[in-house]
Symmetry: C3
Subunit: 207 residues, 3 copies
Amino acid sequence: MKRAADVSVRALDLAGTALFAAEGASLAIAAGLDVLGVLVIAFSTALVGGLVRDVLIGSVPPRAIADWKYPVTAFTAGALTFVSYAYLPHPSHMVVVVLDAAGLALFAVAGADKALDYRIPAFSAILMGGITAVGGGVMRDVLLNQVPNVLKSDIYATAALLGAAVTVAGRRANFAPFAVTAAGFLACFVLRVVAAWQHWNLPALTR
Amino acid sequence: MKRAADVSVRALDLAGTALFAAEGASLAIAAGLDVLGVLVIAFSTALVGGLVRDVLIGSVPPRAIADWKYPVTAFTAGALTFVSYAYLPHPSHMVVVVLDAAGLALFAVAGADKALDYRIPAFSAILMGGITAVGGGVMRDVLLNQVPNVLKSDIYATAALLGAAVTVAGRRANFAPFAVTAAGFLACFVLRVVAAWQHWNLPALTR
Amino acid sequence: MKRAADVSVRALDLAGTALFAAEGASLAIAAGLDVLGVLVIAFSTALVGGLVRDVLIGSVPPRAIADWKYPVTAFTAGALTFVSYAYLPHPSHMVVVVLDAAGLALFAVAGADKALDYRIPAFSAILMGGITAVGGGVMRDVLLNQVPNVLKSDIYATAALLGAAVTVAGRRANFAPFAVTAAGFLACFVLRVVAAWQHWNLPALTR
């Protein structure tokens, strides 16, 4: 049982990595970077969030480096995006939002989960879930010399923090692991998709 | 004795955290970020310096994560700043400079001190004091997509490095801990306030 | 034998540090930073790549901090550049390219080598070589608020990755350490110099 669960978690995690890498690569191509720049941005978008989390919680070397499947997945997804960019039709905005929300939810739940495994306090574990989910996108935007999208746009990091908070609360309450993961995932995913669909925004004072 | 000293150091440290978080939040609000972006900038400004120091000296997980009081203080200060921004009068420039100089001095001394506790060599311990004091502001400016203020402006990091150097020299000379802390704090604080008041600048070649 | 080799590796490593620091300082001076900003950029350009590598592979505190010769070398080179900038003739473009390529090759080989010593898998060890070689330049460009040059320009990181890959392959094949180091160095150095000379570029899709 445990073994099968681990394998599917790994598969989901690599799927999220590939997805985020492809998204980062698309933005880098649009920004005019050469093929290596595209691969660097793909790697950063997909793996820097988990990398920062691992360094902070003391899981060194980080999984993104210690396990070669992660960088290879990110680079392969980035390379395939580069090669196919001019030929394949680009997915519609809503498809991108839904896939991205799935990746976001997956990373938020996995990040909070791993932080708790390393005995990080609850409040900080929620932060670690948020960093895992959005850290890569922040790094991507810093490298592309833009104000990180997550800082100024709609409900994105908020959804990640909600998913992480549900995960942490669920584990504290000793619910079944699968139920906790599913609840955290759904909380993040649903909030993100509905917010994007309904154009919800957080309040700002000046704009 | 030791215990009382530790408690007051902790209290000062949290006061510095709250102060830097409120400053970061003000800048983020002025930059038009939404409430979550404001909180992220508040957290970064207050805690990233110490976080980088802790990772570099091998104190993992960093205090900013391992001790929930730090992130909670930073987020609370950021949230209060957001809520009160439109209603409370903004403090005068010189009040901000003096409070900021106190936070800077506190972080510089504490950063150098902790690095020495982890057996970092003297020269590097001074650097760690500087990073603790200005690292958060650098991260804030990078996220807001600006050249870090500390790189181009007046005597700011210089004051932090002076405070850290006095701390390291004092500990090397085996002066009493309280005297060393006070001397380091005053060296940084006085230099920073006088430099801001007198508009002192470091030389640059082209401008 | 080992001892003499270690001493010369150290000497080369410090030479690369001084070179990258001087390059970073020149760019910071041209950007109008004051003397402290110039020193910070010199330090970042020369040492942040190795620092990130060390944190990621678990060699903490990083060598750039644990060994005072590295920060002192970087700051000295930065200060000498600042002092002499207005008086000495600036080296020609091709001299800068050749010296920079030597530093790049040295850092790429040393970075991959150290990662293998810490039992990082081959693919990730190549990445660590690349990060060691170009990480400082990326940090410099982020601090100067520019899209990192390495992301958009010609064959630079590519040469670093090639040198690292040759190093990793050579060590896996159990060739003599000196031969591996020389081959990795030459692969990176020659590719970089020829690419700069011939204006080779990697493909990009939009520009």
